[in-house]
């Protein structure tokens, strides 16, 4: 279905009646609350004016768009297949996807375990909905915090990684992360923009990102080794 303008709120009664077997469940989304929840998404997705594709595609105009239909973003095979099978992003399908991404698209690269609370999902969709009507409705604001906000030195970002060395180093990553890019409990790390990959690894190395395994693994990688890994995983398919 092509989404119609709802502005700041989203009534999810119709969707809910389909999803929950016609129970009298009816909720209205609060876009302000949804904006807070979007902080869980903004590491990978941008939304709003000037939003770009990063680790995930930008989400302007998501409602009504067929899955994997956004030109220029390199989707997982699984998402591409879902799109060609006819999956379109509606209130119903986005609700299901946000609840449990892998239940809807089994080998999606989206590394997100899902939102259990239906109200959280409706709020988040109300927020996303603000950026979906048509381009003229997109507020004149900067995109939400970019995943690449950082103070990493330009010379570190400018390093060109040796992909052959990256391939050897990658074998250490592939004890846990899936080479096919699926996220089955451990995040997908394939086909990230180089900058995002390098920034994330340096954030682990500096102890800014909180995960003990990744802090330890990144902790002993040199700047060149991080660049090499970024170069290798960028093109891994």
């Amino acid at each position: 279905m092509r989404a119609r303008p709802f502005h700041a709120t989203l009534a999810a009664c119709v969707a809910a009646n389909v999803l929950w077997g016609g129970t009298a469940w009816c909720q209205t989304g609060d876009a302000k609350e949804g904006a807070k929840i979007f902080s869980q998404c903004s590491g990978c997705h941008e939304i709003g004016q000037g939003a770009r594709d990063r680790i995930g595609p930008h989400l302007n105009g998501i409602f009504g768009r067929p899955a994997a239909a956004h030109d220029g973003f390199d989707y997982s095979k699984s998402m591409a297949r879902a799109g060609s099978d006819g999956l379109t992003w509606t209130v119903e399908t986005l609700d299901a996807y946000i609840e449990n991404p892998r239940a809807l698209v089994s080998k999606t690269r989206m590394s997100f375990r899902g939102l259990d609370d239906p109200q959280d999902r409706v709020n988040l969709m109300a927020y996303l909905r603000n950026y979906s009507d048509d381009p003229s409705n997109i507020p004149e604001a900067e995109p939400t915090a970019r995943g690449t906000d950082h103070d990493l030195a330009p010379e570190i970002l400018a390093l060109v990684g040796d992909a052959e060395y990256g391939e050897y180093l990658s074998s250490e990553c592939l004890s846990c992360h899936m080479a096919d890019g699926s996220a089955q409990g451990i995040p997908s790390i394939t086909r990230w923009p180089t900058e995002d990959f390098v920034v994330a690894m340096h954030a682990y190395k500096a102890g800014l990102r909180p995960h003990p395994v990744m802090q330890m693994m990144a902790g002993r990688l040199s700047d060149e080794e991080i660049a090499a890994l970024a170069a290798y995983f960028k093109d891994l398919d």
Binding site: R113, S171, E172, S175, A179, G185, I186, M216, M217, G219
Partner: protein, 422 residues
Amino acid sequence: MTLNRRLFLSTGAAAAASLAAPAVLAQGAGKPRVVVIGGGPGGATAARYIAKDSKGGIAVTLVEPSRTYFTCFFSNLYLGGFKEMEDLGHTYGTLAAKYRINVVHDWAIEVDRDTKTVRLASGETLPYDKLILSPGIDFVDGAVEGWSLATQNAMPHAYKAGSQTELLKAQIAAMPEGGIFAMVAPPNPFRCPPGPYERISMVAHTLRETNPTAKIIIADPKSKFSKMGLFQEGWADLYPGMIDWIGQDFGGGNVSVDADAMTLTIDGETTKVDVCNVIPAMKAGHIAEMAGVADGNWVPINPADMSSKADPDIYVLGDSADQGDMPKSGFAANSQAKVCANAVRGALTGSKVFPAKFSNTCWSLIDTDNGVKVGATYEATDEKIAKVDGFISETGENSALRKATYEESEGWYAGIVADMFS
């Protein structure tokens, strides 16, 4: 000869490509041959990486008796009812079809280091240029008085996953109300240091549901064990009064069993038990001993490439190796396999050899959605594989973190089996 050839080949990739052929023709075959014995996390990973990265330039044969490999890791979760046996079984079809690995389901029974051949139980022999041994563990004869392979059905070890694990689960299910589950824990070093204690947690989880007045006794020859604080905190909170751990200080190492009478004697005191899980002391898989590369119970290796100290053309991975600071785990074997694969490929084809990096993480499940982990990174020094850095879960962590840790372990399982078999 071998050392000279290796030095010669490493002088440049372009030169090496043209020079590899004569070295191999001398062996009487079209391309260099690698034989891998053992299809677990060490062997399957090494075979896969060598075949994949050499792009057909090296003929790889993998010798593994089982057609379906059941992972030891996560087999405790089967005992706890979190996994089915089918979830743990993996086959070798993709290794054969996608990477052209010659998968031979047979037992290797002899290694002749002079002729560089491996003899199989079927009578065939396989020539090799490089041999990789990753046979896992065997048990030390007479390690637990009264226990032997002849009595392993009465008192299963369940420390090689498969029928033994299924047997142990069936015995737990058949315990009488208020019965006793006993474990004889192994001395260091042994496969999967947290394994016995995760198993206790999983048995307790099952018994709490099905047989809540049952008791668990552990006779342990050690005075401390992996993740001890985490397990003991979990046992006290989640299974209060059920688990009695008898460590070295209380005679836990002075143990004998009687499989006919189903009794366990700890420091002179005999108890009739309903299930007795005997995990004896371990040693390198027997083929390592037969190859003459073991020294005592384990095989000394050169940390830079996992080659054995006794023979530069034989590499030893995982549980069988004397791994220095690394624990004997599937993760460790998988990590070592990649270092070894890189070195073997370099030696045979002149491809670039990168410095060794090792890592390990071991997740354990204490109860539903209650996972913990321990891990470290390692490097090769002249002496041994030496620890660089490490971490461990903390006591008192919140339930969301413990749940996330469990989900992460499931992600790791998917990752490592893909890294071995897909």
